[in-house]
């Protein structure tokens, strides 16, 4: 236990003083925010054109619901986070082995088991921080750029805000499931590979290869929900939206 604590302290010490950990925490939120801003800019142009032509309709109202943009930005952020975690996990052990710094830790006070456990814990903490930052920033920014509202047609509330939030909460919970698997997969590659370069390229290569072959699962595709890890072309939230709540998202999705 003592060795594990020392290993966690060691990981934290390095993380606070290097760039990679900060990138994992901040990059998904930054990219999601950039996406929201770009969409808003594009939309502002579209609205200006529409207002010149005159009129508005239900589709346009739905399209302006902030929940849709919030979910879209989460999809982007979580997809990026999944890939970053795979890459960082693959890099962490193999890089320290490459430069030899891992030897100092192993010889002195930490067993291999404690060291790997510490890396797992450390990467989970980074993932958690990143998700929290992503959620908060995307939620606030979506709310600033659009308006959170229920789906209303002809004065009747078709889907209430609480229903939408429940669905999104479920989606987020399911979307988080692949992250621990992504971390474990990356670390497995990291300890098996012969160099950091090999580890990162192999981990990302396999991740993308799985994504390609996933299509062969056909109707069983949604069962691999935990479509591990979150894949670039079909983000987890996208799948959840389609399979679990098609009606809702048909309305609010753009």
């Amino acid at each position: 236990m003592n060795g594990l604590l020392i290993a966690i302290k060691s990981e934290t010490f390095i993380a606070l003083r290097t760039f990679a950990s900060k990138l994992i925490v901040a990059a998904p939120a930054l990219v999601a925010a950039a996406q929201l801003l770009l969409v808003r800019l594009t939309e502002a142009g579209q609205q200006a054109r529409d207002s010149l032509l005159g009129g508005s309709n239900f589709e346009a109202d739905v399209a302006n619901n902030a929940y849709g943009f919030f979910v879209d930005s989460l999809s982007t952020g979580l997809t990026m986070l999944g890939l970053l975690l795979v890459a960082q996990a693959a890099y962490s052990y193999s890089y320290e082995r490459d430069i030899g710094s891992i030897r100092h830790i192993l010889i002195r006070r930490v067993s291999r088991r404690s060291l790997l456990s510490a890396k797992l814990i450390h990467l989970h903490v980074l993932a958690l921080l990143s998700v929290l930052l992503l959620l908060v920033s995307s939620y606030l920014l979506s709310g600033m750029l659009w308006e959170y509202s229920a789906i209303v047609e002809d004065g009747f509330e078709l889907i209430s805000e609480s229903e939408i939030r429940e669905e999104i909460t479920l989606g987020i919970q399911l979307a988080l499931l692949p992250l621990p698997a992504a971390i474990a997969f990356g670390l497995l590659i990291s300890v098996s590979a012969q160099s950091a370069t090999q580890a990162v390229s192999t981990a990302l290569g396999i991740t993308l290869a799985i994504d390609i072959f996933k299509g062969l699962l056909g109707g069983s595709g949604p069962l691999s929900l935990c479509e591990f890890p979150a894949f670039p072309d079909r983000p987890v939230l996208f799948t959840i939206r389609q399979s679990h709540s098609a009606r809702l998202f048909r309305c609010i999705d753009r």
Binding site: I6, I14, S101, R103, H104, I107, V110
Partner: protein, 301 residues
């Protein structure tokens, strides 16, 4: 008391046996040098001792711990490797602070070791921006933060300038004398090892071919006296009369190579003078570790 005991160590890379029934014992408080040709298995031996490589058979205990449990010694054994093994994006100070986290009982502060190794002015430099010599100093500084009983150094003099080498040699002497720290030094710099080591082990063909105190090892080798004179024949006859002196050969430069065991250079010179043989040069070639090493490793070449 032994700091290290290696018995019957075997290590193969594929079908190639790097270490073949290697035995090595190191007493506490000694400075033990491990020498060998390139590829003789010195680093492999060290990595097996430190639990960084698995071995095929044999047993190792360092400070009473087998390699997989070495971390239980809680920093009583530390190692300084041939490559500096420091995180390149940390500064020197950060590296030392990181190492401090790993110390059970820090004995020196980061400032102390920076001063000791002469790297105070580089404390805010990133490791990747340091010269190899200063990286090595930082690496040694890291090891000295705690209170290690046993320090393993792989190629400690690589990249160090003359002043750096002197500092490291003095540091090793001081730690050994004042705190009884045991050292295992693995290096190709035989003159430095000869200066500092109490014991030498020569690793050749996967085995420790010779292991003893440096005095015993060098005591068993012969001292050669080179004598130059115009009257080589007369000098040869005089040498036959001196007990403990044996003429080996006369080389192409006209030097008489004389093996002396028992006799000394003064007696030989005196005999030459008494026989009115003019001596142009008299060179005493003392036994050296380098000479012994060459002799041993060239035997089977």
């Amino acid at each position: 008391m032994q700091a290290l005991s290696v018995t019957g160590l075997n290590k193969k890379y594929g079908s190639f046996a790097v270490l073949d029934d290697l035995n090595l014992q190191i007493d506490k408080g000694s400075i033990h040098g491990l020498v060998g040709l390139n590829g003789s298995g010195k680093t492999t031996t060290i990595e097996c001792i430190l639990g960084l490589q698995e071995f095929n058979s044999g047993s190792i205990t360092a400070l009473g711990y087998p390699p997989p449990q070495l971390h239980l010694s809680k920093g009583r054994l530390v190692a300084i490797f041939d490559s500096p093994s420091l995180h390149p994006n940390l500064t020197v100070r950060q590296c030392l602070e990181h190492a401090l986290l790993l110390c059970e009982k820090p004995k020196r502060s980061t400032e102390d070791v920076e001063t000791l190794l002469g790297i105070s002015r580089f404390r805010d430099f990133k490791i990747k921006n340091l010269s190899l010599g200063n990286k090595r100093r930082a690496s040694i500084a890291q090891a000295l933060l705690g209170d290690p009983e046993f320090i393993v150094l792989d190629e400690p003099f690589n990249g160090l300038d003359a002043e750096g080498v002197d500092d490291v040699l003095e540091l090793i002497r001081t730690l050994n004398r004042d705190q009884g720290t045991t050292f295992l030094l693995c290096s190709h710099q035989l003159p430095y090892l000869e200066q500092i080591c109490s014991h030498i082990a020569i690793l050749h063909k996967g085995k420790i071919s010779h292991s003893d105190t440096i005095n015993n090892l060098l005591g068993n080798t012969q001292t050669i006296l080179q004598l130059k004179t115009a009257e080589t024949e007369a000098a040869s006859k005089v040498l036959e009369t001196i007990s403990g002196a044996e003429l080996i050969d006369i080389d192409t430069d006209g030097y008489l190579n004389i093996r002396i065991s028992g006799a000394d250079s003064i007696a030989i010179n005196q005999a030459m003078v008494e026989n009115k043989i003019p001596v142009a040069e008299l060179i005493l070639k003392r036994a050296s570790l380098a000479g012994l090493f060459r002799e041993i490793t060239s035997e089977d070449a």
